[in-house]
Symmetry: C2
Subunit: 120 residues, 2 copies
DNA sequence: ACAAGAGGTCTATCTCGATAAACCAGATAG
DNA sequence: CTATCTGGTTTATCGAGATAGACCTCTTGT
């Protein structure tokens, strides 16, 4: 399976790691209990799976990410555009904005992002 | 469950309906066999589920959609932005474009869509 | 010496999405 | 009048994501 692909629970889990890495595995267990209500074995089960998939690494009880947040998000965004919008970003944007408006500030920000991607 | 939410198989199925409605249910069975390789019972099972959910309607063997494509796409786009991008469209756009560029034409189109949403 | 904690694995359960086989009632063509 | 077609329903299987209980080994503080 693609190391970029993260299911719902996996994504929440990996977010905690991105925000705290490098993190000791026992600390991660505590963090997951606090933030997600997970038992120890759940944390280790998911951790092991994601390590096998190549998304994370756990070496000498230190957990770090191989796949970075930007990569996972990029993958996720492209997947949804592909699957539900024919691969068309304009179609996505149209659907997202559908009807409701946005502020001038946000519009400026969006246009800046587009400019940035155009001049390459 | 939300009538807007469509799982993968359901989405493909509903796409056929959007493209062909109103459609006779027996014809839909044939269409699903041809396009998705589904058996008759599969088609009826999914159809019934989506009718119960309020996404589709099947009256006197005529199938029509209640939820329209734009609505489903809007829901889908907002879900992904919410769940994976903190509800931030700029964050989504940044991730999607991440690194690679876009053509001038596409950039213009995107900016036009943004303009459209701004002036309301 | 021994209890407790760190760091894990193995196996299992539950739910649910995807798919289908089997069956059924009413209309209709030959 | 009976074989076929239309228009379904009921029930089941299978895989996978989400979650966890039980157990295990090694180290360390008392």
């Amino acid at each position: 399976m693609e190391p970029y692909k993260l299911f719902d629970a996996e994504y929440k889990f990996t977010c905690l790691i991105w925000d705290n890495e490098p993190i000791n595995s026992t600390d991660l267990v505590k963090l997951c209990l606090a933030e997600l209500g997970w038992k120890k074995s759940t944390t280790y089960t998911v951790l092991r799976k994601l390590c096998k998939r190549g998304s994370l690494r756990n070496e000498e009880a230190t957990v770090t990410s191989i796949v970075k947040k930007e990569d996972a998000q990029k993958y996720e965004s492209q997947m949804v555009v592909e699957k539900s919008f024919n691969g068309s970003l304009p179609q996505f944007l149209t659907a997202f904005l559908g009807g409701k408006g946005i502020s001038n500030e946000e519009a400026e920000e969006l246009k800046r992002i587009i400019e940035e991607a155009t001049k390459s």
